[in-house]
Amino acid sequence: MSIFERFFRWFSKVLSPRKGKGDPLASLLHKLIAQLKDTRQIELGCDEVLAQLAQFAEMALRGEDMAKLMPLVKHHLDMCKDCSEEYAALLRILQSAI
C-alpha cells in the first residue's frame, strides 16, 4: 500500500461519521457486562419462581412491598424476560377480575 493510499484510508476513517457505539464488540460486551451489575450470589430459577408467582401477584395487587417480602422472586422477575412476561399476563387476568 502506498503512503498516499494509507493516508487516504486514515483520512476517510477520521472523517466518516461514527454511528452511536461504533464498535460492535464493545457494545456487545457492554450489554453482557451490564447484566453483572444486578447479578447476585443466590438467584431463583424459573420453576421456583413459577411456583410462587400466584402468591406474589396477589400480594403485589394488594399493594404489598414485594421487594421486601419476596426479594428473590422480585429479583428474578427483573432479570428474566420470560418470567416477567408471564407475570404481566397473570396481573392482567387478576386485574380484570377486580
Binding site: 457494545s27 411456583a51 400466584a54
Partner: protein, 228 residues
C-alpha cells in the same frame, strides 16, 4: 380428553358458578364423579376467561390460530393441574395458581411459534466473528485513550472466552443481545428453561468474580465502554 360439563355448556358464564374455597376445589377435583366433572367444567371456563387477557398482547382473537391455541392450552392446563394438585401449597387462591400454569403454557406455545424459523447458528453468526477477530484500531482524536480502551475490550473479551463455556456464551448472546426467550434458546440446546437460567447465572457469577480478581469493577468497565 376432559369434556365439558353435562349439557355441554359453552360461552361460559362465571356468574352461575358456585364459589369454592381452595379446600373445596381440591376435594372436588381429587375424586372422580359428578363433583369433579362440575369443577373441571368450571375451571375450564375460568382458564378460558383468563386466556383472553393473557393473549391480549400476543395474538388477535381474529387470528386463525386463536381458537385451537385456547383449546389446547386449556386442555393441557387441566391435565397439569390434576397431575400436580399435591404441589399446590395454598399460598394463593387456587384459581390464581391455575392461571399461572395456563399463562406459562400459553406463552411457551406463542414463543415457540414466533421464533420457529430462527436458528441459533444464524442468530449468533456475527457475534462469533466478533469474538474471533478484532478490527484494527481506528485512529482517534485521542490515541492514548483509544489504546487503553482497546486493551480493556480485549481483556474483557478474553475473560468471556476463558470463564464461560461456549454454551454459556451462546446462551447469553442469544438472550441478552438478540432477545430470544430463554425458553427458546433452551429448546435449541436440548435443555430446559430452568436449567438454562441457572447455567447463565453461573456464568454471570464467574465473570463477576473474574472482574473482581482483575481489580476491575463492573461500573468502571461499563463507563469505559460507554464513551465508545
Amino acid at each position: 380428553m376432559i369434556m365439558t360439563a353435562p349439557g355441554g355448556r359453552r360461552g361460559y358464564n362465571t356468574h352461575n358458578m358456585p364459589e369454592r374455597t381452595n379446600k373445596i376445589w381440591l376435594a372436588d377435583l381429587r375424586n372422580p364423579g359428578p363433583a369433579q366433572e362440575a369443577a373441571l367444567a368450571d375451571l375450564r371456563g375460568i382458564i378460558q376467561t383468563g386466556l383472553k387477557y393473557t393473549l391480549q398482547t400476543w395474538l388477535s382473537p381474529n387470528d386463525p390460530r386463536y381458537p385451537s391455541l385456547v383449546e389446547e392450552v386449556t386442555q393441557d392446563t387441566l391435565l397439569r393441574v390434576l397431575d400436580r394438585l399435591d404441589s399446590f401449597e395454598g399460598r394463593s387462591k387456587f384459581t390464581t395458581w391455575v392461571h399461572s400454569i395456563a399463562v406459562r403454557l400459553a406463552l411457551t406455545e406463542l414463543r415457540r411459534s414466533k421464533w420457529r424459523d430462527v436458528s441459533l447458528e444464524s442468530l449468533l453468526e456475527k457475534d462469533s466473528d466478533n469474538f474471533r477477530e478484532r478490527e484494527v484500531t481506528e485512529p482517534q482524536p485521542n490515541p492514548e485513550a483509544q489504546v487503553e480502551r482497546n486493551l480493556l475490550i480485549e481483556q474483557v473479551k478474553q475473560m468471556m472466552l476463558e470463564e464461560l463455556t461456549e454454551k454459556q456464551r451462546n446462551a447469553m448472546l442469544a438472550v441478552v443481545i438478540h432477545g430470544m426467550p430463554i425458553e427458546e434458546v433452551a429448546r435449541r440446546m436440548d435443555t430446559n428453561r430452568n436449567a438454562l437460567y441457572k447455567l447463565m447465572h453461573d456464568g454471570r457469577l464467574k465473570l463477576k468474580q473474574r472482574l473482581a480478581r482483575e481489580g476491575l469493577s463492573v461500573e468502571e468497565v461499563l463507563g469505559v465502554f460507554e464513551v465508545m
